[in-house]
């Protein structure tokens, strides 16, 4: 049944693919982006391509104080919310520049968690709704090459897990999606292993299916569950010596 989707992080390629999948199914779309002007082309695309009803709102994921009022100001409480906010950052810089590291942690963990937490309260009060957080396989185990980003995503994954546990009996679905490698502007120009690399549209489909009642923790390409299980199983004395 079609409803209203709130997409947070509307300029991301993954976010756009998610919105497109919902628009295709006839959902109304509310896009939230820090820079609505940059998200306008995505909004236009949904209207031209899918004849969707689309709203575009400004929201800065770092302005956590503004969340409650912002949610109260929505025309209506959405049926589903998907958070596609993410910032890879620069690991090397994060190691020496606490401000940069803090930005990456806040963008990947604090902002999304606090926002989805407030939305969860409203969904629980209503007794329905689906919450999808796009986290990352990078949060499954901290690795030397990207642990600041990974720690943010690990926090987000843990938050979603707890939220899901708490709301299991309330009629609110909470889903964690871990895309793995995806061909987006974040990864453009890189050689990615084809078997492990999905298209944004695959993430869109995975999010849609999961929110409609699929899995709780979804690896977009199934092989990632295996890959991460192997990585997680490596004993720490060995793991710490690996170049990962």
């Amino acid at each position: 049944m079609a409803g209203t989707l709130l997409l947070v992080g509307a300029t991301s390629d993954i976010g756009h693919a998610v919105a497109a999948r919902y628009a295709q199914a006839g959902w109304r779309i509310l896009l939230a982006a820090r820079d609505p002007e940059r998200a306008q082309r995505n909004a236009d695309d949904l209207v031209a391509r899918h004849r969707a009803e689309v709203g575009l709102l400004r929201l800065d994921i770092l302005e956590t104080d503004s969340f409650a009022a912002w949610l109260d100001g929505l025309p209506a409480l959405p049926d589903t919310v998907v958070c596609a906010v993410g910032e890879l950052g620069d690991q090397g810089r994060a190691e020496v520049d606490p401000t940069h590291a803090e930005g990456v942690m806040r963008t990947n963990f604090l902002g999304p968690s606090l926002l989805l937490g407030l939305i969860a309260e409203r969904f629980a009060a209503r007794g329905s709704g689906a919450i999808v957080g796009i986290s990352s396989v990078a949060g499954d185990r901290g690795r030397g090459s990207n642990y600041v980003y990974g720690a943010g995503k690990a926090g987000f994954t843990a938050f979603l897990s707890g939220l899901r546990n708490r709301l299991a009996k309330s009629g609110v679905r909470v889903v964690t999606v871990k895309p793995g490698f995806v061909r987006t502007r974040m990864t453009r120009g890189l050689r990615l292993p084809p078997l492990l690399t999905g298209e944004p549209s695959e993430v869109g489909q995975a999010v849609y299916a999961a929110a409609q009642g699929g899995g709780d923790v979804v690896y977009v390409r199934k092989i990632w569950r295996l890959v991460m299980a192997v990585i997680a199983a490596i004993p720490e004395p060995v793991f710490k010596r690996l170049n990962l």
């Binding site: 082309r41 620069d90 690991q91 396989v137 490698f181 502007r185 974040m186 120009g189």
Partner: protein
């Protein structure tokens, strides 16, 4: 995202040097690759760079979309910006593919006004090459249907261009091979159709005179195109099949028990890599052509064919450019004026048949009056031949080029990989005007493809 060190370091401006070629896989050249991520960030990406050209789907055959130094991929500019069902007016970013447009709008009863021979091209590429279709005699090129476009000129400013706004820049951007600026988006009108079926009528032409007569008879037809047996000689020289097409009405489709808007089957055939160049030889192509001709001659008559088979028959065979092996191939597409065309074409076909290496994919079409500038079409006939990239081909084509320009014709830049400057200059009298505009825009040396350097554009 599981970020590896490389992934963490590389942003959207990740640079790499790669060997690039066009669809013909000849010639190949190294180029730095940049990927645009949005129209708004392109000015910053290009600032201060020289020798840059935009590349959409890479379907130009030769070196038109290989940058002198840097090639900018525009595939991410794939958003539709607005569609008005009342008028069919579509505004879309330059990296949107024709396939995407057809898939999105045909089920809603709209079809592009002009389509080239493949749907795997981008909107930007269609404008930069001013592509023509099987309806050029009636509709002109794609450029004739573009109402407006946004062009990022070398000064880093996006400019709205249309017949009213920056009209000179607009006119020379249609067919301008990306050398006046980088096209960011464009507006054109789709036209209403009742179905995705084409009512196709096949006629047999026993020789070149019959062929040209049949194409002339199609002046009132919506679409017309001929397949030509370019290995036939003597009395059969120029024989082939002429395919006339009209959009089929909804009732005709339903009466024939067809879904009005057919969707091409998935599972496309793919030509495997590593085929040797002799896969296509005189014996195999002669046999194929003779069979194909007889089958067409026997079938004759008319019938309903789906849009993808009529307009894009080769799209069903993925990576068909591998048929010519690792050395690649060239497509020679010329146009010669109507008057005296028969003598020129028969001379060309005779020489091609003697060499005997042309592929079965030879196409002859009528073109109507052209769009000016560096746009390819002029009132006449266009012949397209695929030939393996080798010394014998190049020697033959140099000869053919001379007869084309002597007759007042020219070669299609979107297909070109090897013509000489002399041929190019003789074929395109608007070149000095084009160069002047490039100078005024500060585009010289800034926007440059291997093609533009080779031909001194």
């Amino acid at each position: 995202m599981l970020a590896t060190p490389a992934l963490a370091e590389a942003g959207p401006e990740a640079q790499s040097l790669r060997t690039l070629s066009g669809w013909g896989r000849y010639p190949r050249a190294a180029s730095e690759i940049l990927a645009a991520d949005a129209p708004g960030t392109l000015p910053m990406l290009l600032r201060g760079r020289r020798g840059v050209i935009a590349r959409g789907a890479g379907r130009a055959y030769g070196d038109a979309a290989v940058g002198q130094r840097t090639t900018v991929l525009t595939g991410a500019l794939d958003r539709l910006r607005g569609f008005d069902p009342a008028t069919g007016r579509l505004r879309a970013e330059a990296g949107v593919t024709l396939a995407d447009i057809v898939r999105t709008f045909l089920p809603r009863g709209f079809f592009p006004p002009v389509v080239p021979g493949t749907q795997f091209v981008t909107l930007g590429g269609m404008i930069a090459s001013d592509v023509h279709g099987k309806n050029h005699h009636r509709e002109g090129g794609f450029g004739a249907h573009v109402e407006a476009l946004t062009l990022l000129t070398p000064d880093g400013v996006p400019r709205r261009c249309s017949r009213d706004q920056n009209p000179d820049l607009f006119a020379l951007t249609l067919g301008g091979m990306g050398l006046t600026g980088t096209i960011l988006d464009a507006t054109f009108r789709l036209r209403p159709v009742e179905s995705g079926w084409i009512c196709q009528q096949t006629r047999v032409a026993a020789d070149l005179s019959a062929m040209l007569r049949a194409l002339e008879e199609d002046d009132a037809a919506t679409y017309s195109v001929a397949w030509i047996d370019c290995l036939a000689r003597g009395a059969s020289l120029g024989r082939g099949l002429v395919y006339r097409g009209e959009h089929a009405g909804r009732q005709a489709c339903l009466a024939a028990g067809r879904d009005p808007f057919p969707i091409p089957a998935h599972g496309r055939l793919t030509v495997p890599p590593g085929l040797p160049a002799w896969t296509l030889n005189r014996a195999s192509v002669t046999a194929f052509n003779a069979l194909y001709f007889r089958r067409g001659a026997a079938a004759g008559a008319s019938g309903l064919v789906p849009w993808h088979s009529y307009f894009f028959p080769l799209d069903g065979l993925a990576a068909w450019n591998r048929l010519y092996g690792a050395r690649g191939f060239v497509q020679h597409q010329c146009v010669v004026p109507r008057r005296g065309a028969e003598a020129v074409l028969s001379g060309m076909l005779d020489r091609v048949a003697r060499l005997g290496t042309a592929s079965p994919l030879a196409v002859l079409k009528r073109l109507g009056p052209g769009g000016g500038g560096l746009s390819f079409p002029i009132d006449g006939y266009t012949l397209a031949l695929d030939l393996p990239a080798n010394a014998a081909t190049f020697a033959l084509l140099d000869e053919l080029d001379r007869s084309v320009v002597a007759a007042g014709g020219r070669l299609y830049l979107a297909k070109d990989a090897r013509q000489s400057r002399e041929t190019f200059e003789a074929g395109y009298p608007a070149l000095p005007t084009f160069r002047d505009l490039r100078r005024q825009l500060g585009a010289e040396g800034v926007l440059a493809s291997r093609l533009s350097v080779r031909l001194g554009m």
